[in-house]
Symmetry: C2
Subunit: 331 residues, 2 copies
């Protein structure tokens, strides 16, 4: 239930408003290119479109939790947003998406080529920013996260349109495509602030569980719709034949004839009017939507448990509330 009080994401945005202004300044400065004006055109379009800036905010919050004084965390927050933006550009090429955050995608406005190459540029720039921070431990975390992201995306490519995709594979995919950057974002925030090894691990656990929950809920919202406008239409994943958790849980329990339905619609892609409604009925029959939400709840619990290992602070309370809030989105 959403009430009128200030939501935790808005609170975070308020607390880190000044720092986020500096992060945005850094982003604008570093995404420019004297030599290739196409670059700032494309990135300005994407970055101008907003988005909640969850990931850089997580870096700032983790650094604040350990009373970091300095400006390296700003570079890391910008790094995290650059990596995120680069993956969005490449995702939209891969998914042949037409819209992102309610606006036409870069691949539609310019072309796939620009999206591929500007994504590469942003990724390289993020890498330069990290090097400036001067910590090999942090570089290691972000390099591994980048590899996990790419691996998850490739795995998704072979897993999609495949109704044999199991929950373990689904988890690997979303760990890559979403959780890896969340966990790297929180972990490097702690690291740059000189947090102890076990605190950095707790931050990693929090980011990882939060990211997994975030993606499960995103996939859930695609199936059941949401109170707010997410810019997505109900049933997009079904139409794009993406096998997400609510589908996997229903397919697992299918009768022979139901299996034939999933084969026809997801694997072969022969969808007719009424198929989406039929898919929904099957998911309700096996309560796969409810089971998916329960799974998200478990990950949120895991995220909150990880926080309990960290020193008490206002930020910790806020990160706990943020975890709950992510879950509320799905109700």
């Amino acid at each position: 239930m959403l009430d009128k009080k200030i939501q935790p994401d808005e609170k975070l945005a308020k607390i880190f408003e000044l720092e986020m202004l500096r992060v945005n300044e850094l982003i604008r400065e570093r995404m420019s290119s004297e030599n290739a004006p196409r670059i700032p055109e494309v990135t300005a379009h994407l970055i101008g479109a907003g988005g909640k800036r969850f990931r850089p905010m997580l870096t700032l919050a983790a650094a604040r939790m350990f009373d970091y004084v300095g400006d390296k965390h700003l570079k890391l927050a910008a790094t995290v947003e650059f990596i995120h933006t680069a993956t969005l550009l490449h995702d939209d090429v891969v998914d042949e998406s037409l819209k992102r955050r309610g606006r036409p995608t870069a691949n539609l406005l310019w072309d796939n080529k620009s999206s591929v190459l500007v994504g590469d540029y942003l990724f390289s720039r993020s890498f330069q920013l990290m090097v400036e921070v001067g910590s090999l431990a942090i570089l290691d975390i972000l390099a591994s996260a980048s590899a996990t992201i790419a691996e998850g995306e490739v795995l998704q490519l072979t897993a999609s349109r495949n109704i044999k995709t199991d929950e373990a594979t689904y988890l690997k995919v979303i760990r890559g495509k979403t959780a890896a950057l969340f966990s790297a974002a929180t972990q490097v925030g702690g690291k740059v602030a000189g947090a102890r090894e076990e605190d950095c691990e707790a931050l990693y656990e929090y980011g990882d569980a939060l990211g997994v929950a975030f993606q499960i809920i995103d996939d859930l919202l695609d199936v059941e719709g949401s109170l707010e406008n997410t810019g997505k239409n109900r049933g997009d994943d079904f139409r794009e034949r993406k096998v997400t958790l609510p589908f996997i849980k229903a397919i697992k329990k299918s009768t022979k004839s139901e299996l034939a339905f999933w084969e026809e619609t997801i694997e072969k892609g022969n969808q007719i009017d009424g198929d989406w409604e039929k898919a929904l009925l099957l998911m309700e029959k096996y309560d796969s939507i409810g089971a998916t939400r329960k799974e998200a709840e478990l990950w949120i619990q895991k995220a909150k448990l990880a926080l309990e290992n960290l020193p008490e602070s206002d930020i910790r309370v806020l990160l706990t509330d943020l975890a709950d809030y992510i879950l509320i989105r799905s109700k």
Copy 2:
């Protein structure tokens, strides 16, 4: 004139045979992915296709020049080859290429999606390898080179099919797409071996000039053909409407009616039988092919001059011969 004696690239391959075996082993090991089997499929296809492995060899040669003992240079050589392979994968998507090194491209065998994402994976893996080497100075060089590569590629996107492209823009493009990795390859080889700052700069100068010459000659070969089989067909760039140096030099001197021809064929893309022959005649009329070769010669001279600042050694002699050999390819 190619004679029967052993060419410098073959000599290099012979000298670094054992080290290159270890580099190849490292490449095979790091390009694998337990989670996403599509990854080694795609990369094995590309890496199996061979190529001269110029870039990693340059890193090994630069390290040997300063008597490096250790194995970090192997990781850097693998890094350089990974970055190169990642850019090839993305280039083939951007160019919509069907063949690379005489074999079908990955985007044709699998799909553009796989090429984009596997390229991202290789880039991330290269980044991990660099971090393992543990030198921020080296990370800085390779991060900057990556940004320059992406920038050059984006610039090429907006410069191609544009007959107003001038020589300065052409130089920026090829510095990015080719020379940046050559110069990073030589420079990090020196750096890892503990060479002095001025020696690293000389190595950079050599790699940069060699890379610029290499690309100019590649573009020249596309126009005038070659003695060996380069896997390219004469006139490919004209058909793909890429404005390379021999074209730029001819277009600059065009009469009004000649300019109309370039507009029609390159900008509008209306090419008919005989147009390629006409383009060749125009390039001969203004001796733009000869002028382009002269420019390549100047860059080769520049490369050899840079070597003179480095300590005398057998490797230095070989790198000098290599520069001459690159030029001979175009005769």
